[in-house]
């Protein structure tokens, strides 16, 4: 249990709550329920929560799966600096946002779910978790010929095999440099004795 990042679950819960708030708000506003203006608030709050929670934070260990198209919102959320990094802020923000929606039946579910998400964020914050944006790493271009330090030390024409020395580290390098780097489909079939 020690490696659980509660913030990841809180993020899913908050995103779901945002969607529930939006749905409840639309029902209340479209149906012109009593006190439907709470519904209108709920739609706005829901959209805000969804936008804030859409970019998933980076996991501490291992690779994180990004949500589709989240890099645009990541930039925006990053702009807020410590306000978006710190989970205490998120916990209290969500708690505050959820309260007005609690006055309308259509959105009360959203309130409950968002309040729970806020609670999980609080737990995450007490364990020192933080939101780190997922940034794409610049592609490393393979350095062709980067390992060739010096010209081949024993170029052809070479003396016959018997006179050749045993393979040493330097020869390994020179041979290796001729082979292309990186895993790839082998263009030259390597035969074996079976089949």
């Amino acid at each position: 249990m020690g490696q659980i990042e509660w913030a990841m679950w809180a993020n899913e819960q908050a995103l779901a709550s945002g969607l529930i708030l939006i749905t409840g708000g639309i029902v209340a506003t479209a149906g012109q329920f009593t006190q439907w203006y709470f519904g209108a608030y709920s739609i706005v709050a829901g959209v805000f929560v969804c936008l804030l929670e859409y970019p998933r934070g980076k996991r501490r260990k291992g690779s994180t799966m990004e949500r589709c198209g989240q890099k645009y919102m990541t930039k925006v959320v990053k702009l807020f600096g410590p306000l978006s990094r710190n989970y205490y802020v998120r916990a209290f923000l969500h708690l505050g946002l959820s309260v007005p929606a609690g006055f309308l039946l259509a959105t009360i579910l959203g309130t409950a779910c968002l309040a729970i998400a806020s609670g999980i964020y609080l737990l995450a914050a007490t364990r020192g978790e933080q939101w780190t944006p997922i940034e794409s790493k610049p592609k490393e271009r393979p350095q062709v010929g980067g390992t060739i330090k010096q010209p081949p030390s024993n170029p052809p024409p070479r003396p016959p095999a018997e006179a050749r020395k045993k393979p040493s580290e330097e020869e390994d390098e020179t041979v290796g440099a001729g082979v292309s780097s990186g895993p790839q489909e082998n263009p030259i079939p390597v035969t074996d004795e079976v089949v």
Binding site: W6, W9, A16, G24, F33, G62, L105, A106, T147, S181
Partner: protein, 563 residues
């Protein structure tokens, strides 16, 4: 296309039946509440929202009943066992239990949404008609309880004008239980998202157990009789078609008396009682089976942090490709983790290979590494899963394992070795091509020994062509390649010590398939994969491409095993 249908016809049938039943139940309930005379007056206040709420409720009951069945894995194993003479496809269907469980869960979520939205409208309309003073039929109906001295003739649950919908919801049994079970459902769904499940399994596992609250809440959700329809006798005295227009004159001794209403009784419990009891027995059974003593006969620490445990348990019998759930009380009382069995059924023990891949596995490995403390106790439940006996049914088999997916093939290859040694007639296989694709062999050095001994065995019996390995190392670098190039002439491979040389890079499947099709022009070739989806797509394509149109010639059948 035909090939796909042949492999999947049962899945399609089950899905079609399930969807069909859902549609049928929905439409049936919808028409009952939308057109039935009994609910005419109720519809006066609520409109169509009543029918939508009730129809989705019926589907919710149906799906809540279904959702527990796929999780009774002991029952499924039993069914699978008794169906040993059944066709393979039937038994494989039982393996898709998790997929079915998820589908049913999605349907529950959909119907929950419909049900809640419909009820929001219902409550709002009840509220409005209670408040309204326009003397319409709806408002007359809503004020019914005040007029009748006989109890229970009310229609509108909101009895006083100053009761709010929120108060009504939170103080009535249906409202309160509804809110609770919906919150529970949302929590279960968010913690079961694939990302959470794969990365933080414990969150998913423990949270998912709140389904108990869901089922109890669902059972009591219908108590309270808030959904009300006219009683039988009242319809005789006051038939809506006759009397609805003259509602102002109901109490004046006209042909129509005031209508009487009764609430529908709770019916959810009827749907969920049986699966609930079944699942309860399933858990008891799991507990009982796990209490059976497991004796650990051998512990081997392989390189790259792989732990092999060889165990014996009374009454344990397995087949190739099955898996077990393992629990270690000293690490965690409640967590059960699945592991593929790596031993063959012919051996007198069963074994698993555990790789450090998370909290629990790391703790397990650490616990067994301690030289001086006693060996931790292990509990085992299983085995589960469809046996992959299909492998033995094909004349030619292509077994492809990628990375950790090679583990179930350990069991299969060992079993083939035993069957081969004892000249087992069940073994139809004449030739096996085994493809092992991984980034670095270090993590599976334990598998190497198995392959080496198999290779030797084949040589000694003089049947060298029976088992052909192709090992592909995808994460190679210049050093390794250079080394290999220099030792090209050596008889054994430098990396694995096997006679079969290791290839570098990914396999060229086109070439492999065409070679095999050429060598075995008249055979049926079974292709078995345990690996990533991208590879699955590629292999399926190749199977279609290289299966000849003539059924007498080479046919490739793809089997994706979800071990």
């Amino acid at each position: 296309m035909a090939n796909w249908l042949l492999n999947h016809w049962l899945s399609v049938l089950v899905l079609v039946m399930w969807l069909g039943l859902n549609v049928f139940l929905f439409v049936n309930a919808f028409l009952l509440y939308e057109k039935g005379d009994k609910y005419y007056y109720t519809r006066e206040i609520l409109g169509s929202a009543l029918a939508w709420a009730r129809a989705s409720a019926r589907c919710l009951n149906f799906n809540s009943m279904l959702i527990l069945f796929p999780m009774c894995r002991n029952l499924l194993s039993f069914l699978r066992g008794t169906c040993s003479f059944c066709r393979r496809t039937l038994r494989k269907q039982l393996d898709h239990n998790l997929t079915f469980h998820k589908l049913v869960a999605y349907m529950i979520c959909l119907h929950t949404a419909i049900h809640i939205v419909a009820h929001l409208f219902n409550f709002e309309r009840y509220d409005r008609s209670r408040q309204s003073t326009d003397g319409s039929l709806a408002s007359v109906l809503s004020s019914l309880s005040h007029q009748e001295k006989e109890g229970d003739s009310w229609l509108n649950p909101m009895q006083t004008t100053n009761m709010t919908v929120i108060y009504m919801t939170l103080t009535s049994i249906p409202g309160f239980t509804g809110v609770i079970i919906t919150i529970v459902l949302v929590l279960m769904v968010t913690s079961s998202m694939e990302f959470i499940r794969r990365s933080y399994f414990e969150v998913f596992w423990y949270t998912h157990h709140i389904f108990i609250i869901y089922f109890i809440g669902l059972g009591i959700h219908g108590i309270g009789g808030i959904v009300r329809g006219q009683t039988e006798e009242s319809i005789k005295e006051n038939h809506p078609y006759r009397c609805a227009e003259f509602f102002e004159k109901w109490d004046d001794d006209f042909h129509c008396k005031s209508p009487q209403f009764e609430g529908n009784s709770a019916e959810s419990w009827k749907w969920i009682l049986a699966p609930g009891v079944l699942y309860f027995f399933e858990r008891i059974l799991r507990l009982y089976r796990s209490q059976q003593q497991v004796m650990i006969t051998k512990v081997v620490m392989h390189p790259s942090k792989v732990l092999e445990l060889q165990m014996i348990k009374r009454g344990f019998s397995m087949e190739v490709g099955q898996y077990i759930f393992v629990n270690c009380p000293s690490i965690s009382y409640l967590e059960w983790h699945p592991f593929t069995l790596t031993s063959a059924p012919e051996e007198d023990f069963f074994s698993i290979h555990v790789r450090a891949a998370g909290d629990w596995t790391e703790n397990l490995i650490k616990a067994f590494e301690q030289q001086h403390s006693p060996i931790p106790k292990i509990e085992v439940d299983g085995p589960f899963g469809t046996a992959s006996e299909d492998v033995f049914q094909y004349e030619v088999a292509m077994l492809i394992g990628a990375g950790i997916g090679v583990t179930p093939f350990a069991s299969i290859l060992k079993s083939i070795w035993y069957k081969f040694r004892h000249a087992d007639h069940n073994l139809k296989t004449q030739t096996i091509y085994f493809y092992w694709i991984c980034r670095e062999t270090g993590a599976f050095a334990w598998f190497n020994d198995l392959l080496a001994s198999l290779e030797q065995e084949m040589e000694e019996s003089g049947k060298v062509g029976f088992l052909n390995f192709r090992l592909f190392l995808t994460g190679w670098d210049n050093n390794i390649a250079g080394h290999a190039a220099l030792n090209f002439d050596k008889a054994t491979d430098i990396l694995t010590g096997l006679k079969h040389k290791t290839f570098f890079g990914r396999p060229m499947w086109d070439k492999e398939f065409s070679t095999i099709a050429t060598i075995h022009p008249k055979s049926v070739v079974g292709v078995f994969l345990c690996g990533p989806q991208a590879l699955e797509k590629c292999l399926r394509k190749c199977c279609h491409q290289y299966s000849s149109l003539d059924p007498r010639k080479t046919q490739f059948y793809f089997n994706k095993e979800n071990f």
